[in-house]
């Protein structure tokens, strides 16, 4: 248990350090995945549109000038609006885009758990094991079994 905790903490530290490095020294390719070409509405990495080429040259220049990832994104948002971001910012109305899927998933899980509990409670109580039929299915109704025997006897006869 303690070992798992240590591994978890170390992993979190490594991920935090990587995120910090990415924020301070972003690369063109990671920004290309996080930005949208305004004319073709795909990520920048998939676009060859002239405006996408211009955005790439802008990003290269800003990286060379030592700007952070947030600063570069903010500069592009100032030009093209928030729709240039592949993922909406986690603030204001856009926060809904992050919260709603999680809330929906939590609600679905809750409803599923609720339904399972109710279903298990409403199952009919059985007193002792039911006799199984020859094919492993539920036992036949005695009246039906009697009629079946009669029909088979008539057929054989």
């Amino acid at each position: 248990m303690r070992r798992a905790l240590v591994v978890g903490v170390l992993l979190s530290l490594v991920l935090a350090a990587a995120a910090g490095a990415s924020e301070q020294k972003p690369t063109l390719s990671e920004l290309e995945r996080e930005l949208i070409c305004p004319t073709c509405q795909t990520t920048l990495e998939l676009s060859n549109a002239p405006v996408a080429e211009r955005m790439r040259s802008f990003i290269r220049a800003r990286i060379a000038a030592g700007d952070t990832k947030s600063e570069i994104k903010a500069a592009l948002v100032e030009q093209f609006g928030e729709s240039v971001l592949a993922a909406p910012p986690k603030k204001g109305f856009n926060l809904l885009a992050w919260v709603l899927p999680l809330a929906g998933a939590a609600l679905a899980l809750g409803l599923l758990a609720f339904a399972l509990v109710r279903w298990s409670r409403t199952r009919p109580e059985t007193t002792g094991p039911a006799p199984a039929s020859a094919n492993g299915g539920p036992p036949l109704d005695p009246e039906l079994e009697r009629r079946l025997d009669e029909e088979l006897a008539r057929y054989d006869g």
Binding site: P38, T39, P50, V51, E53, R54, F58, E78, Q79, F80, G81, E82, S83, V84
Partner: protein, 187 residues
């Protein structure tokens, strides 16, 4: 209690669905408005252009089509990275110089572009007509534009007139549509 909780949940679900359907409807209606403009012009109708207000290129002021009531307007959507826009710019400047005293306004709308690039473009081509800036290109959808350049003409009565020109126009096409816009009576 369980029944009340169930009813509350059902009401909340219906409310959320109604909200999503309303949003979808609003978005579709907005897109249809743009698509409908071009089709209406082709049918010989004269629809009103969408009511939009833009920032000026220098960011110090705003421009709206309503500001030009009583004038004929050439509405040209362009971007500095668009090649045909480079051919059109001198023709638009010439039309503006020739007909401005007759009541023509050329309004350039620079969209999906870096402001600094647009400013260089304006300087390079010596454009003196009003230029609006629509960085995120929201106006494009309202007009149903799908690319650059696209040009619309607004009559003196504030309604669209002539052709919706998709792509580069030639001098003759520009002249014909400018005359059609100038010839509309003021309402």
């Amino acid at each position: 209690m369980a029944r009340r909780a169930k009813l509350t949940l059902q009401a909340a679900a219906i409310l959320v669905i109604a909200l999503l359907v309303t949003l979808l409807g609003w978005k579709v209606a907005e897109q249809e408005e743009g698509r409908g403009l071009s089709a209406a012009l082709e049918r010989g109708e004269r629809p009103h252009p969408p009511k939009l207000t833009f920032e000026t290129l220098d960011g110090d002021d705003t421009i709206s089509l309503a500001d030009y009531r009583g004038k004929a307007v050439v509405l040209n959507f362009w971007a500095s990275w668009c090649q045909p826009c480079k051919t059109e710019a001198p023709m638009l400047q010439e039309a503006w110089e020739r007909y401005r005293d007759d009541g023509l306004v050329v309004l350039g709308i620079d969209a999906q572009d870096f402001r600094v690039d647009a400013e260089r473009f304006v300087e390079r081509y010596g454009l003196t007509y009003p230029i609006a800036y629509d960085g995120n290109g929201k106006s494009l959808g309202r007009f149903g534009n799908t690319g650059f350049p696209e040009t619309w003409f607004v009559g003196r009565d504030g309604r669209l007139v002539g052709e919706h020109i998709i792509g580069e126009f030639d001098a003759e096409q520009l002249e014909e549509n400018v005359q059609a816009a100038l010839d509309t009576p003021v309402r």
